[in-house]
């Protein structure tokens, strides 16, 4: 037994052991990862994409404004008690989209309502019964005297957070525009010593501690002011949403140059219980297929077939471990990608064994036949898999475009699967086979799927 084979065997067993340890049982937390991450189509949930109407926004600040809009939506969704929403701002060909993934949401209508609301923050005061009502004042706009509610609309865009130079107290500095200064003067005079809360829709903003953010008015505020007593995180968040809330950024979609508010560009909702159902069905189906495949390999290729099955077991465990630890989101098309990559993994083994059989029939010794089989099969395995990689890269690009987000999972899993299959076929299968042949436990050619009569005499 060659020493290098022993080292390889130890490496493979260690890898296999680690993979098994990390995935059994699947829902145990390993290295901070708990269970497999399932996509919307398996776990249930909603995916929404809206376009932003940024006509009122200066294009140079669009990125910042969208960031603020994202913050506002995050707050609203968190207020609904939805766990782990994923919100992304995408810039596609000059159009800003906001993509929202809500895992396992039952009440999608409520979530949509929250998302579709405007981003302007309103200030509210307590009325005589202790209920928060809009803090109003009067101001002259375009020569007319109006009753207006103090809101983030009247803030200048330069709200910022600083620390007091000596006490290190967190300070949120803001400036008001003309109308805002008039309103704030009246309201702060009236509410001296009383709290002023900040509302997004009908939800009060809450700090990290879960308390409503309602600073007490301590001085008359006109064109500039400051808020103290906030935690650093709360102050930064408030500054972000105030800046974003200066202008309405309606979310909806564009149709022929017209903006339709509140209608998503793209929406997908999958029922959670039925997602569960399709998981079980698909896994059962894949399981049946894989068992058939293994039986076929052993019946047709005998001992090498058994080696291939062991090699595929390593392949399966390592792949599952990658899915869990990276983590890679598993979707139904991803599952199909796994099946196709499994086919390729089997293919690599089949190529090698067919070659080996040929060499055995040609009269070579077992050891020589195995080595030649591997070397000759390698060019075919390499060349054929590279074309699959090309397809995967292109699919991955296609999947990045909006309507086809399901495609990405397939491409990614197929790519990883095929890359791993090249490793298992070449390293794992070869090492196992070398060890069995080298140990001379099985020398009967029948065990290698070759009928003895067909073996030609060596020249």
């Amino acid at each position: 037994m060659k020493r290098s084979n022993v080292y390889l065997l130890i490496f493979i067993l260690a890898l296999f052991g680690f993979a098994l340890w990390s995935v059994i049982p699947l829902d145990r937390t390993v290295l901070g990862r708990e269970g497999l991450r399932l996509g919307l189509d398996l776990a249930g949930g909603s995916y929404l994409v809206y376009e932003a109407d940024l006509r009122a926004v200066n294009s140079s600040t669009a990125d910042e404004v969208m960031d603020g809009v994202k913050g506002v939506i995050e707050r609203r969704i968190n207020a609904l008690g939805i766990t782990e929403p994923i919100i992304q701002v995408q810039n596609q060909e000059g159009n800003y989209n906001i993509a929202i993934q809500l895992p396992g949401v039952a009440d999608i209508e409520k979530a949509k309502e929250m998302v579709g609301l405007f981003t302007v923050l309103e200030f509210r005061e307590r009325d005589s019964e202790g209920i928060w009502v809009a803090a109003n004042g009067t101001a002259t706009v375009d020569g007319e005297v109006k009753e207006l509610t103090l809101s983030s609309r009247y803030f200048n865009e330069n709200t910022e957070v600083t620390l007091h130079p000596t006490t290190s107290e967190v300070i949120l500095l803001f400036e008001m525009n003309g109308v805002g200064a008039t309103l704030f003067e009246q309201i702060s005079t009236r509410l001296m010593g009383k709290p002023l809360a900040i509302f997004l829709g009908d939800q009060a903003l809450r700090g990290e501690d879960g308390q409503i953010i309602a600073p007490t008015v301590q001085a008359v505020i006109t064109d500039r002011g400051q808020i103290t007593g906030l935690s650093l995180v709360d102050a930064q968040e408030l500054s972000r949403v105030l800046n974003a809330g200066r202008i309405d950024v309606p979310l909806g979609r564009w149709v022929d140059g017209e903006f339709e508010p509140s209608v998503p560009l793209y929406e997908r909702t999958v029922d959670a219980t039925l997602g569960q159902d399709s998981i079980q069905k698909s896994i059962l189906a894949a399981g049946i297929g894989i068992v058939l495949l293994l039986v076929f390999m052993i019946l047709y290729y005998r001992l090498p077939g058994l080696v291939a099955c062991l090699s595929l077991a390593v392949y399966g465990a390592v792949l599952l471990s990658i899915f869990k630890l990276v983590p890679i989101t598993l979707t139904l098309p991803g599952l199909a990608g796994f099946i196709v990559s499994l086919g390729m993994a089997v293919d690599a083994n089949v190529l090698i064994f067919e070659r080996m059989k040929e060499e055995l029939r040609g009269g070579r010794s077992l050891g020589a036949a195995a080595e030649t089989g591997f070397n000759r099969a390698w060019t075919a395995i390499r060349d054929s898999n590279i074309t699959t990689f090309i397809a995967c890269v292109i699919l991955f690009w296609l999947g990045g475009t909006l309507g086809a987000f399901m495609v990405r999972g397939f491409a990614l899993i197929l790519f990883i699967g095929v890359a791993l299959s090249m490793f298992t076929a070449i390293t794992v299968t070869r090492t196992f086979l070398r060890l069995i042949i080298g140990s001379q436990v099985v020398t009967n050619l029948g065990a290698y799927g070759v009928q003895v009569q067909t073996v030609r005499n060596t020249k």
Partner: protein
């Protein structure tokens, strides 16, 4: 010894028949439903819902009820086990629930919406364009790769072309079959169809490269002075591998088609067809094209050649 190369005209004839049926279907489809393929939600926009009926109902019953409720234009696909994929105009989730409720009452069956999917027309246009670009880039990139992989052979461009022609042939046949399913059974193509198609392109090229690799090896070993004989010997060498690989993949795909979920039903069908046709084309078409080109027997390609029979 089996003679795959000698029977090439028969294989070409079979392929021509499949392709011509496909083209006829594309034309009929264009006339019947104003599109060569029935476009799904990803490409045409609108709303698509998956309804699960328990107990299962008949597709014809469902179509009648849908028409009665004012959804005359809706496409209904059967996805097995009482699941139906319905593609219709833009409706909200609320309206979809209402529709499902009415269908349940009328058809006396428990009904649930397992999947609600809505795409705006503007996204659909973009997706269509990107899908077409993806398929073209894939074909060109793979051709360049094969030309590069076979650069040491005389005339590498020929090998690349033959592999790509074989793959385009496969794509044509699958598109033809889905066109047929489109106007006959209401089956739509979506983003997953394109995914399946590109996966099939990868798989077919993979298969063809294995065969070509063997031809390359046998040419350099000079096993026969005749190129046709060399190709035939290579086809026989790789036959076992091609069939076994296809079989093992088919086991799993078939299980997934029969018992997997409704969402990927037709996606798995594309893969299944792709594996079968991809295997056929690498055994019966790709190598034979090389021989035709080498010997200049262009007339062998014609579908109705006097020399047949």
């Amino acid at each position: 010894m089996m003679d795959f190369v000698g029977k090439k005209q028969w294989f070409f004839l079979v392929s021509w028949i499949l392709i011509i049926v496909g083209i006829v279907s594309l034309i009929v489809s264009q006339v019947q439903i104003k599109s060569p393929l029935r476009l799904g939600t990803d490409f045409a926009g609108g709303t698509s819902i998956i309804l699960q009926f328990n107990p299962p109902v008949e597709q014809s019953q469902l179509r009648e009820e849908m028409a009665g409720l004012g959804y005359v234009e809706a496409t209904i696909q059967n996805a097995g086990e009482g699941n139906f994929i319905i593609h219709t105009r833009e409706i909200t989730a609320e309206e979809a629930r209402e529709l499902a409720g009415q269908l349940g009452t009328e058809l006396d069956s428990q009904v649930e919406i397992t999947d609600y999917y809505f795409v705006s027309g503007t996204v659909a246009t973009r997706t269509t364009r990107n899908a077409i670009v993806a398929v073209i880039i894939a074909a060109v990139a793979m051709m360049f790769y094969i030309v590069w992989a076979f650069r040491r052979m005389p005339k590498p461009f020929r090998w690349g072309s033959c592999a790509v022609i074989a793959v385009i042939h496969n794509v044509f046949i699958i598109v033809g079959i889905f066109s047929l399913l489109g106007w006959l059974a209401g089956v739509e193509i979506d983003a997953l169809f394109i995914t399946g198609l590109l996966a099939v392109v990868g798989y077919s090229i993979n298969n063809t490269v294995v065969v070509f690799d063997r031809i390359r090896e046998n040419v350099s070993r000079h096993i026969s002075p005749d190129f046709a004989e060399t190709v035939n010997a290579s086809l026989i060498d790789t036959l076992g591998r091609c069939i076994n690989t296809a079989l093992t993949t088919l086991f799993v795909l078939l299980a997934l088609l029969l018992f997997g979920g409704a969402t990927i039903h037709y996606f798995v069908l594309v893969l299944l067809l792709g594996v079968i046709i991809g295997t056929y084309s690498s055994i019966c078409i790709a190598g034979q094209l090389l021989v035709v080109w080498e010997k200049g027997e262009w007339r062998a390609l014609l579908p109705f050649n006097k020399r047949i029979g």
